[in-house]
């Protein structure tokens, strides 16, 4: 195989994105929220469709209809949980109050890995590159194991284990992502992330200036440890993002948003995406033409909708 450098690139346009968000907003508000799943689908279709790797766009195939069905199911789950919680709060019986509150808390704790699992299956199945669909093959039971071990140790170590938890989760998820017959791998270590997070103290000591190095480190940790495995041969992504670039992009973005009283937000979002994606390349031998479709379709968007409702910022 020949040595090729494959670049990612983001083509989004602030004006077009503003138009999409405006139409989404208007339709969502006049339908009293019912249009929201379609708005979300359109948003993702646009963002994915403007993202290119090695000359070919990503495609998002999720539809408003799928997301609407998921939205309703997710809504039912959340309403039931809150229903239990509120009737427990209003109950005169103190055992029921305690049990109801516990069911509510544990329900949410269970819901998060469930939502991540379902969300990944859906989001991956509905994303393709060069006509080849992604897929997520993780097992729910294994994810639960990692999740509860992580939550437990993070609590008893007062948050210190959080870095390892986050890396374990990422390793598991990424190692279960497929693009046809291509696999992925995450080689980062919890210890490294811990050091990066520990250095957040420097942000205070430097009166904020270190934040740009902190963000760069996070970006590099996420990207430079990401591997594509083709025919058992790993190829590494590399980020060329610099603290200076983060600094200029952020300052200009803040100015754009403030000077336009918020109307310029879509431009700021697009500029951010461009900054991240235009700095990613795949370093090494990767053959984009030998990938074969392997993944099955998965159309249940409940997990994806739950993630969006629980407002868990998951970076796909």
């Amino acid at each position: 195989m020949e040595q090729v450098t494959n670049q990612t690139k983001f083509y989004g346009d602030g004006g077009k994105y503003l138009g999409i968000l405006a139409v989404n907003f208007i339709l969502t508000i006049i339908t009293l929220g019912l249009y929201y799943p379609w708005a979300r689908a359109k948003n993702l279709q646009y963002i994915y469709g403007e993202t290119e790797f090695s000359g070919n766009r990503l495609m998002f195939h999720g539809t408003g209809k799928e997301m609407f069905k998921g939205f309703i199911k997710a809504m039912v789950v959340i309403v039931i949980l809150y229903g239990i919680y509120f009737s427990a709060l209003r109950s005169a019986d103190s055992t029921f109050r305690l049990v109801g509150t516990l069911v509510f808390l544990i329900g949410f704790l269970l819901l998060i890995p469930l939502a991540i699992h379902g969300g990944l299956r859906y989001r991956m199945s509905r994303t393709s590159w060069k006509g080849i669909h992604f897929g997520y093959r993780g097992k729910l039971g294994e994810l639960f194991g990692i999740w509860f071990k992580g939550v437990f140790f993070t609590i008893i170590t007062f948050g210190i284990y959080g870095s390892w938890f986050s890396v374990n989760l990422r390793k598991y998820i990424i190692s279960n992502i497929r693009l046809g017959n291509v696999k992925f791998r995450f080689d980062g270590e919890g210890g490294d992330l811990f050091i990066i997070n520990l250095k957040f103290i420097l942000v205070y000591l430097s009166l904020g200036i270190y934040i740009f190095w902190f963000l760069r480190n996070h970006n590099h940790f996420a990207i430079n440890n990401l591997k594509v495995v083709q025919d058992d041969f790993p190829v590494t992504f590399r980020s060329t993002l610099t603290p200076g670039e983060i600094f200029t992009t952020s300052i200009v973005n803040v100015l754009i948003v403030i000077c336009t009283l918020g109307i310029g937000l879509p431009w700021a979002i697009i500029r951010n995406m461009r900054m991240v994606f235009n700095n990613i390349e795949l370093d090494g031998a990767f053959n984009p033409d030998s990938i074969v479709q392997t993944e099955e379709s998965y159309a249940d968007a409940t997990g994806d909708d739950l993630l969006s409702m629980l407002d868990i910022g998951f970076d796909f």
Binding site: G15, G19, I26, R57, M59, S128, G131, H133, D289
Partner: protein
């Protein structure tokens, strides 16, 4: 018309060089395989997926069922050619299509529409929905709401039960429509105040009763507080506040910080305005109730004089207050009294009940 592009078959990632012909009923694709031979496929236009036909000069057309086939054409004329070849087709129609051609003016109009609709919803639609929901809220819920507020506010206070019963009796003699649903409490405290809770509880502090001189004033006070209950003011106020701030947090959800802070505070100012309008409504309705009982309406104005004295001239600024300024209240009540044609007569029974309450106030 013939265009050059790439064809992806949805089975492998190979980009086949392709010739794309737009025929009347279908798109005809001729693509070249690795071994140099060609293959052909036809796409009936009705199975082509929705498309904006605009991603920086590149058009990606998707076809059929999972796993999808698609073609990619990097020719600026392709989008127009598609629209001309299939003017009736659905795949290039939809609410988002106009954005690409909208230009700066179109976008500005769109932003204006967003602002106009937000304002319309914030000032008209959302308050109206909140109002309708509050009015339709089951009475049982209101009572529950009032009870829990009562418990948390009053549980530490000392209630004068005997005198409360007298007040209850006085109230009953006013013959209001929902008299039976209302409970009255006198609290042993020098505070010059009184308030109503949703569902039907009126709390009067002893301090206020001490400052009052006649039964007309008490009737005015109870008429005002009863109006709050009858007109569901507390619930309406609550629904208004919640819906307004929920709407704002949905709007400004992503823009945390300064913008959201400014909006939420502006929302509170608007809310205070609503609260003042409810107070005025209770004052006016209270007057009507007095009229029905043939009680001298001056009692309402006198009641406000009592409040004014208690405030000691330290009135807050009107727009930062939940109640209208007391001086304002005196003015509009007097005006209302002048306008109405009040027939009044002395009510001996109420007078004696009032005197008994007054006599029994604890020292």
């Amino acid at each position: 018309m013939l265009f050059a592009g790439k064809y992806f078959d949805g089975k492998s990632s190979v980009a086949y060089p392709a010739q794309i012909e737009l025929r009347p009923d279908d798109i005809h694709i001729t693509y070249t395989l690795a071994d140099g031979t060609t293959a052909q496929i036809n796409w009936p236009q009705e199975n082509i997926h929705k498309n904006d036909l605009d991603s920086h000069g590149k058009v990606l057309l998707k076809y059929g069922e999972y796993p999808f086939q698609y073609i990619e054409v990097e020719d600026s004329g392709f989008a127009t050619a598609l629209k001309t070849a299939y003017p009736e087709a659905n795949f290039h129609k939809g609410v988002y299509q106009f954005i690409s051609g909208a230009g700066a003016r179109g976008l500005a109009l769109l932003v204006l529409a967003v602002i106009a609709i937000s304002l319309l919803f914030y000032f008209v639609v959302v308050p109206e929905i909140a109002e309708q929901m509050a009015i339709r809220m089951p009475h049982k819920w209101e009572v529950e709401l009032g009870n829990s507020a009562f418990e948390s506010m009053i549980s530490e206070e000392k209630i004068d039960t005997e005198n409360s019963a007298r007040l209850q009796h006085f109230f009953k003699k006013l013959h209001y429509e929902k008299s039976d649903e209302v409970n009255l409490y006198i609290i042993n405290q020098s505070v010059v105040n009184a308030f109503a809770l949703p569902g039907g509880k009126i709390i009067v502090y002893e301090g206020l009763l001490r400052k009052m001189d006649n039964y007309q004033q008490l009737a005015a006070l109870l008429g005002h507080e009863y109006s709050h209950i009858e007109l569901k003011h507390a619930t309406r106020n609550l629904f208004r506040t919640l819906s307004g701030s929920l709407f704002i947090s949905l709007l400004a959800g992503d823009a945390h910080g300064v913008g959201s802070f400014v909006l939420q505070n502006a929302n509170q100012l608007k809310q205070l305005g609503y609260s003042r309008s409810l107070e005025k409504a209770a004052d006016i309705n209270g007057l009507k109730l007095m009229e029905a009982n043939r009680i001298k309406p001056d009692g309402m104005a006198q009641l406000f004089e009592v409040l004014k004295k208690a405030e000691g001239g330290n009135e807050p600024v009107s727009f930062l207050s939940t109640h209208p300024l007391t001086t304002e209240r005196i003015d509009y009540v007097n005006e209302e009294i002048k306008r109405g044609n009040y027939k009044t007569e002395e009510n001996v029974q109420l007078d004696s009940l009032w005197k008994e309450i007054k006599r029994n106030l604890e020292d």
